[in-house]
Chain length 459, copies 2
């Protein structure tokens, strides 16, 4: 039967790919107000895909932000229920001129599909949809109960789903969640993610003089909003990359010995990571922690963008009145998001240079999450994943955030199978984002097998 399922997937590769491409053509950029209509189209496309797959009770749920899409298939009494999550929204594509093919013109090259959202997350959660479609087509029924909850605000803080989950505990009741929104450790290395960093995202604004001033006439005596922001931000980390916000490391714990062992067993080349992924002259970060620890198990402070003063071509000698920066803190397990938020705000207040006023606006906040690798669904998923990819599944962490995993844990009391089907060089949030075509097809097979084995094991 596994073979029939795999054959069906192989036989329908082209259609499965074309349907994903049509999805990727919709520029559903959640942060850009001018793409509101595209967001609606992407939600409708998601609902339509679920209906065509055979899912029932398909619903587009209006929210104060972007709509949620729900669907279920509940005809396997006595069997467990899997809640599949994904997001149909994508990051902005800029800088546009660095894309080889258009971000919303999905293009195959070298075994990959290039498009914004190919891996993050349209291509990945579409494997769940296609696994359901395949199982229903081949068997006429599913081996367990399945619910889908897909959102359109993952890239902008996910406010609507964060409100929806605790208000719909019964509707969303399940034994485990399935999320494909992370990456495999490496190509051909099936891996389940059992730890995710949290995220606090903030915007800082600095206001100095009441207007831009001539730097000749006032330079030496008037505060400069850009320089004040630079001075402030420079104090957030020392030269070794150690965060200087007081109390920030109070609750940070080292990885467990089991985690350490597991991570050390993974193939990792710092030279390759530097050359192929980062592409700079050197890596940075805290001494005494290896790279995997730094990106999986250490908090970070990053400046994502800064703007202020005259930045067009040419020269203008102003003392800028105003400057803004977007920053984030990544959190690790045991760190309390509220405590970190407060510490950060206090830090900004205390380190704002004289003559300048600063304001901080927190736009997103979610704690880190860890999942118990001994849960039956996790063990079954690991087994299925390993069988399809023909290598033992590794347990890894991710430095990124999937805030919903924390919500499922807190409000539904369920763990999440984080079955990452992306690859580390997929270029999420960068130009030329891609998704491996092999991982797409093999991902569909893996999800189908997980459903079958989890349904069979837990009868």
């Amino acid at each position: 039967m596994l073979k029939t399922v795999d054959s069906y997937i192989d036989a329908h590769r082209d259609r499965y790919l074309e349907e994903l491409k049509a999805f990727l053509r919709i520029p559903s950029i959640s942060t850009a107000p001018e793409h509101k209509e595209d967001i609606a189209r992407a939600a409708a496309y998601t609902a339509e895909s679920l209906k065509k797959a055979g899912m029932e009770n398909v619903e587009i749920i209006a929210t104060e932000g972007h709509p949620l899409v729900y669907a279920d298939w509940l005809h396997a009494p006595g069997k467990p229920t899997v809640l599949c999550y994904g997001h149909y929204d994508v990051q902005p594509p800029d800088p546009l001129d660095e894309w080889v093919s258009g971000p919303f013109d999905p293009t195959e090259r070298d075994g990959n599909l290039y498009a914004r959202g190919a891996a993050d997350d349209k291509g990945q959660f579409y494997t769940h949809v296609k696994a359901v479609e395949t199982l229903l087509a081949v068997n006429g029924s599913l081996p367990l109960n399945v619910k889908f909850l897909i959102e359109g605000e993952e890239e902008v803080g996910g406010e609507s789903i964060t409100a929806y989950v605790p208000e719909n505990r019964d509707k969303l009741h399940a034994d485990v969640a399935l999320v494909s929104d992370t990456a495999m450790y490496a190509e051909g290395y099936p891996s389940l993610c059992t730890g995710l960093r949290g995220l606090i995202y903030a915007e800082i604004e600095a206001i100095g003089p009441s207007r831009d001033l001539h730097s000749g006439l006032y330079g030496g005596a008037a505060p400069n909003a850009v320089y004040a922001l630079i001075e402030l931000l420079a104090k957030a980390k020392n030269e070794d990359g150690i965060i200087q916000i007081p109390g920030i490391y109070d609750d940070v714990e080292p990885p467990t010995p089991a985690e350490k062992r597991s991570w050390e067993s993974l193939p990792f080349s710092e030279e390759e990571f530097l050359a192929k992924e980062v592409g700079s002259t050197a890596l940075t970060g805290e001494p005494g922690h290896n790279v995997l620890e730094r990106v999986w198990a250490r908090p970070t402070f990053e400046v994502h963008g800064i703007a202020g003063g005259f930045t067009a071509a040419g020269a203008k000698t102003v003392i800028p009145a105003r400057a803004t920066a977007k920053v984030s803190l990544r959190l690790v397990p045991k760190q309390d998001a509220e405590k970190v938020r407060a510490a950060f705000k206090k830090f900004v207040k205390e380190n704002t240079p004289k003559g300048v006023r600063t304001t901080v606006r927190i736009t997103a906040s979610s704690p880190a999450v860890s999942v118990n690798p001994d849960h039956p669904a996790i063990r079954t998923a690991a087994k299925a994943f390993g069988e399809v990819f023909d290598r033992e599944t590794a347990y890894i962490s991710s430095g990124g955030s999937v805030p919903i995993v924390g919500d499922f844990d807190r409000h539904l009391g369920i763990p999440t199978v984080m079955m990452g089907l992306g690859l580390p060089d997929d270029g999420l949030h960068s130009p030329n984002e891609k998704f491996s075509l092999n991982n797409y097809y093999t991902g569909i097979k893996t999800v189908a097998r997980f459903f079958q084995e989890y349904g069979a094991s837990a009868s």
Copy 2:
């Protein structure tokens, strides 16, 4: 005769104002390539105004950049020659939404004329043109020889005039230059500027990873170009505003006792300067130097603009690959521009954080200038200025740069009468730039009187 001249000016106020307004309507922004045609129109308007005033040999001189405008009137043998300088180019008007009336729609309000370039420098050098026009209309001749050299690149480094002056020493031969491109010390306080700071303007680019990276997946190990630039720039000054670039203060000398006395005699209120001009919560700058010293006699380091990473509305969690900043160093007399440039480049190189490459592009460089207050032309100008404004003329300095004054000194061997007719709150380089209408008319009278008295005294 002075009375006749003044009466003529009074009788032609409206026309003199309308002709200035027409000039100000031309958006001759020298830094913006899309305004190239407006630059040509402003040069033509300048030439036309000189012709109508009665100047001869009017010439629009093509350069590799924006054209120069030359004119002369040389029919006073045995009398001194004054070389009048000005610039018809203006700063960009942004931020546009802060202008009460359009930057290129000159508008009278409360005795001022509001427009980009009203004070810097169209309105100011137009007083020279109108003084010549008046004297020729009233007397049929000028009391001395006059040359005009007007440029269109003052706001972008003035490369063309810098090349033109040393190549045209004979043509430009004169006894003194007249430049109205600075401000009076205060409204009603006639003042001649005898010191100007120099300027080194530079663009710094920082390159980190080869592309923008996802801060979740790489944060903690990958260099951040924006943060590296922040770290670098933050090292350029300490918390007291003292520049940390090694050697920068080596040749800096304190003001002379005469300068100190003169400056201390000027009315100055730190509270008013803070509240009315700067408009921030506190002043900044080096301890141990009063405000006038800080802006007139101390070098500065300023960041004029910074850009990098994601700065649009919303949130994007990138580690930026690239960041740029525009910075300047203001120089004071005795500082060697070449030595400072080298020290700055060395500082950037030595303080670039690891994992990041930086490049520095110097886009302008001019030393500070000081003028001998005992030169006959300076003394005569001070006398005329004081008579028209009915208060003794003070000798002041300016923190700004008028690079041409250094060129006239070096290549023509002549001092410059820096007869500032602007006011300190004119908002040069800011939104709502203005020029006092009274200073416009009284300025024309002052220039006419200077020409007459200098012509008479130096026969």
